[in-house]
Every structure is written in structure tokens, then in C-alpha cells.
């Protein structure tokens, strides 16, 4: 070992290892700086016309429905602001809001949203639109739940027949709704999900698309929102078996994050976005939005005129 090696002997290691002359290294360094400068310039020019940006945290299912791609250009045109959409799980979206990393939340977990506002993290909550959850499963329907009117009866049948059920298992809006259904059927949810050797209840911890695909592969039952279902049904070997129960109601809400705790929040634009998405014009657009010809959301804002 070279015991007394000095650090400065190691500095030209890059030129030596790459067998480059000093000029070549300098040329490459200059080229790299030029490229980065060009990118920075392009980035600032691209964002120059939209100096204002607002960060919208929403759920993966909302983004995947394509609704935001349909309506957001209107906000862009009206307010000149760039909406940066971050699609994560409901839990993560709420956490982004608590940390002040998002300006507006658009999720579908009413109980958690109300808590969020009550705890002071959000200014207020307005409902925006709703659709339905449906229970889907294999055509063979081993639990015989097809056409049942009440979700709790269907879940009871699934439980009693030990039919495979795929759960989101990720504290998402859909998962929260699923938990409420099990509770309404009289089961202790913790008891169901905590059985580590359960052969029929599969807690996946994944998004809706992946959960559906797993359910399709395993010919299992699962709970899904209509929008995601219409988007993916052609790829799946599952069918809608139970729908229409009041408890399957899926409510979406919008919350401007409270900027008093986080000065970096774009409070004005957050309020604008909440007002815009609950305005009569946008509510009409939501009403008109279809996937493969089917309407997937029904506007129902509770904001006054």
C-alpha cells in the first residue's frame, strides 16, 4: 500500500483513468455546462408564460380516469396557471397536504377529508362529484352474489364461502370504503385483515389497476370504482356482480390546503382551483365526461352559488 499518498495525486484520476488529455476533460466539462445551461434556459422559457403553478394532489384512480386531462386545460386558459398533478394514494395525498407540499387536494375519502379540515390543515371542503363503487368478480361467481341488492349480504356470502377477495390494502379511498362495507356487514375488519394465514382475503397494498389485474388472474372478487372499471374492463376476465347499494356511493371532494402554516403554498390559486372545479361550467363538463360512451362521474357540489 502507498502509505503516504496525498489527495492531490488522486485529483487527476479522471484524466488518467479515461486516458484523456486535460484539454479533452475541459472540453467535455464545457459541453456539459452548455447542455445544462441550455436546458435551464429552455425550462425557464417554457415556464415563463406560466409563472404561476399550483400543485394538485389527487388519487391514482382520479388521474387514470382521464377526467383531469379533459378539464384542466380550461383552468389553464382561465387563470394562466400551470396545474401540476401529483397522483398518489389517498393517504400520501393527505400527507402531502399536511406537509404543505401540495396546494390543493382532490380525493375521495370523506371521513379523512373532514378530519383533515377539522384539524386545520385545509381551509374547507367542497364536494365535487360522485360515482359508484361496484363489486366485481368471476363469471362463475362461486359465492353466488350476482344481482344482490345489498353489499353487506354479498360480503357475508364471500366470507362464508371463503371465496378469494382482493383488497387494495393501502388506506386509499377505495380501501376505506371497503372497510366500511365489512363493518356494515357486522365483521370486525381488523379481524379479517389480520389473519396472516388467510387463504381467501388478499391484502395487496397496490393501486386499483394492479388489484384488478390480480383479481382477474386469480378469478377473485374485488371492489372498484366505476371510472377505473370502465377504463380497464376490456382487459379483465371479471364482471360487475353487485351495484346500486347506498353504501357503494363514492364521493369526491376538493380541499384548498391551509397556507397559514406553510407560506410557500399558493393560497390564491388553490382557492381558485376549488372554486373553478365547483363552478356550474366545470360541473357541466364533468357531467359530459365519458369513457367509451359511458358517463363516469355525476357532479354534486355542495358549494353555494
Amino acid at each position: 500500500m502507498l502509505v503516504n499518498i496525498k489527495y492531490r495525486y488522486a485529483i487527476p484520476s479522471i484524466t488518467v483513468a479515461f486516458n484523456m488529455r486535460k484539454n479533452q476533460i475541459i472540453a467535455i466539462a464545457i459541453a456539459a455546462i452548455v447542455v445544462l445551461a441550455a436546458f435551464s434556459t429552455w425550462y425557464s422559457i417554457a415556464n415563463k408564460d406560466k409563472p404561476v403553478s399550483v400543485i394538485l394532489a389527487t388519487t391514482t384512480s382520479t388521474q387514470d380516469s382521464g377526467l383531469l386531462d379533459y378539464i384542466l386545460p380550461d383552468f389553464n386558459a382561465k387563470y394562466g396557471a400551470d396545474v401540476e398533478v401529483i397522483a398518489v394514494g389517498t393517504g400520501q395525498a393527505l400527507e402531502l397536504g399536511r406537509n404543505g407540499d401540495a396546494d390543493v387536494l382532490f380525493v375521495h375519502s370523506p371521513a379523512k377529508e373532514i378530519d383533515f379540515v377539522d384539524q386545520g390543515y385545509g381551509l374547507y371542503r367542497w364536494t365535487v362529484m360522485y360515482n359508484q363503487f361496484v363489486i366485481v368478480g368471476p363469471a362463475s361467481d362461486p359465492a353466488c352474489i350476482n344481482g344482490m341488492a345489498l353489499a353487506k349480504d354479498a360480503l357475508e356470502m364471500i366470507y362464508n364461502t371463503n371465496s378469494t377477495f382482493c383488497s387494495r390494502g393501502d388506506q386509499s379511498g377505495t380501501h376505506t370504503a371497503e372497510q366500511k362495507l365489512w363493518t356494515s356487514a357486522g365483521y370486525n375488519y381488523t379481524g379479517i385483515s389480520a389473519q396472516s394465514n388467510s387463504s381467501w382475503y388478499l391484502s395487496l397494498g397496490q393501486g386499483m389497476g394492479d388489484t384488478l389485474r390480480t383479481a382477474s388472474e386469480k378469478q377473485a372478487y374485488t371492489l372498484v370504482d366505476e371510472a377505473t372499471w370502465f377504463n380497464l374492463e376490456s382487459q379483465l376476465e371479471l364482471e360487475i356482480l353487485v351495484k346500486g347499494d347506498n353504501l357503494l356511493f363514492n364521493q369526491y371532494g376538493v380541499i384548498p390546503v391551509n397556507g397559514t402554516m406553510h407560506p410557500a403554498i399558493n393560497q390564491d390559486m388553490a382557492i381558485n382551483l376549488a372554486s373553478w372545479v365547483t363552478s356550474p361550467e366545470i360541473q357541466a363538463m364533468i357531467n359530459n365526461y365519458t369513457i367509451n360512451g359511458k358517463q363516469v362521474f355525476t357532479p354534486n357540489t355542495d358549494r353555494g352559488p
Binding site: 500500500m1 502507498l2 502509505v3 503516504n4 499518498i5 496525498k6 489527495y7 495525486y9 488522486a10 485529483i11 487527476p12 484520476s13 479522471i14 488518467v16 483513468a17 479515461f18 486516458n19 484523456m20 456539459a32 447542455v35 445544462l36 436546458f39 425550462y43 400543485i55 391514482t60 387514470d64 401540476e84 398533478v85 401529483i86 397522483a87 399536511r98 406537509n99 404543505g100 407540499d101 393501486g207 389497476g209 394492479d210 389485474r213 377504463n231 380497464l232 382487459q235 406553510h262 410557500a264 403554498i265
Partner: protein, 215 residues
């Protein structure tokens, strides 16, 4: 989706390329220095570095998110959900790899050449230079592995970047999105683009390795 393909590809190259460049400029000299020098605690440094090879990118992303968050210590920098945060995350992941592999490359040649060089009367600088020159194949390999890791990484850039269309979407996060939406073929196509970028880079690096051989 397809309209932002060019944007996504260029951002992938920019983020991973810059991260590898940044990481290598720190890590190669450091790796050579640490590899050639004898010092107390060298074994510990080596062990820690090797452990960091397997550092889960998503954990690095989570740590960086907590630091850069508006409610975190570095929130005032407003770097969250920007390409800079993504470059930082990948740099953190690449540095241990390049340091470790450079240290290994330099250590194997160190023993052989030091004795010969000292016998022949070379001074410290000449010996160091020779050792590094002989270790060049290993050092360039270190850069290749580092770039490969950065390019393929998805967890950290997803967390600190947010996969925002037009702003922080790269090939890996785009593949996650396409897969989630069921567009498997498009996801595979993006994967092919990713592999091609890697291939081009590795080819360029290999030329540097070969160049050394001919002299």
C-alpha cells in the same frame, strides 16, 4: 401520452447523466485516494461503502423527500418536485457505487505495482499515477454501473419528483404509469428506449476502456 415521449426521454438522460457526472467527479478521486492510502478505519469505510451498494433507492427518495418537504429543514429551497431533487437523489445513490468499485479497482493493482515501482525508484506521484492508469478498466466500469443504477432507478425519483407530466416524468416513472393504466405494450416500448440509452452510454465508456488498451 405519446406526445410527451421526447420530453420524458430527454429528461431521463439529463437527470441520470448529470447525476452520474456529478457523482463520478467526486467519487473517482475520492475512491482512488481511499483505495491507495492506508489509514485507520479503512476496513470500516470499505464495509460501509459496500453496504451502500444495496441502499434501497426508494428509501433514499423518502429521506430526501422529508428533507426537502415544505415542513422539512430544507423546505425553503423549494426543490421538491423538481428535476434538481431527482438529480440529487440519484447522485446520492451513485456515489457509493463509484467510490466502492474504484477503491476495489485501485486496491488490486496497488499491491502489484507499488512494490515494483518503489524498487525502480518511482516517487509517490508517479506510483499513484501508474496505479490509477492500470486500474482504469475498473474505474470506467464503476462509472458504467453507476449510470446503469441511475437510469434504472424509479423509487426515489417518483417520491421526490412526483412524476408530474412535462416537468418530472422520466422513462422509469412513465413505465409505472403506463403499467398502472394497463398499456403494457407501450410500457415495454419505453423499456426498450431505456435499454438503448444504456447501450449507447456503455458503448461510449467501453471505447474509453479500449483506448487505454491500445497505448
Amino acid at each position: 401520452m405519446e406526445s410527451d415521449l421526447l420530453n420524458v426521454t430527454l429528461l431521463s438522460i439529463l437527470v441520470s447523466g448529470t447525476a452520474t457526472l456529478l457523482a463520478s467527479s467526486i467519487a473517482i478521486p475520492l475512491g482512488c485516494y481511499l483505495g491507495m492510502r492506508k489509514f485507520k478505519g479503512k476496513e470500516l469505510v470499505r464495509t460501509v461503502t459496500y453496504t451502500l451498494y444495496g441502499f434501497p433507492p426508494v428509501v433514499a427518495g423518502l429521506v430526501l423527500y422529508i428533507l426537502l418537504s415544505n415542513s422539512g429543514p430544507l423546505g425553503s429551497l423549494q426543490l421538491l418536485f423538481t428535476p434538481i431533487a431527482m438529480i440529487l437523489a440519484q447522485t446520492l445513490l451513485v456515489v457509493p457505487i463509484v467510490i466502492g468499485l474504484t477503491m476495489s479497482a485501485v486496491s488490486t493493482t496497488s499491491k502489484d505495482y507499488t512494490e515494483t515501482a518503489i524498487i525502480l525508484g518511482a516517487d509517490s506521484w508517479r506510483t499513484a499515477r501508474t496505479v490509477i492508469h492500470e486500474a482504469r478498466i475498473g474505474i470506467i466500469s464503476a462509472v458504467m454501473v453507476g449510470f446503469g443504477r441511475a437510469l434504472a432507478e424509479v423509487g426515489a425519483v417518483m417520491l421526490v419528483g412526483g412524476n408530474i407530466q412535462w416537468h418530472t416524468r422520466v422513462l422509469t416513472t412513465a413505465i409505472v404509469l403506463e403499467t398502472r393504466e394497463g398499456n403494457f405494450e407501450y410500457g415495454l416500448a419505453l423499456g426498450a428506449i431505456l435499454l438503448t440509452i444504456g447501450m449507447v452510454f456503455f458503448y461510449l465508456m467501453k471505447r474509453y476502456q479500449d483506448k487505454g488498451m491500445l497505448t
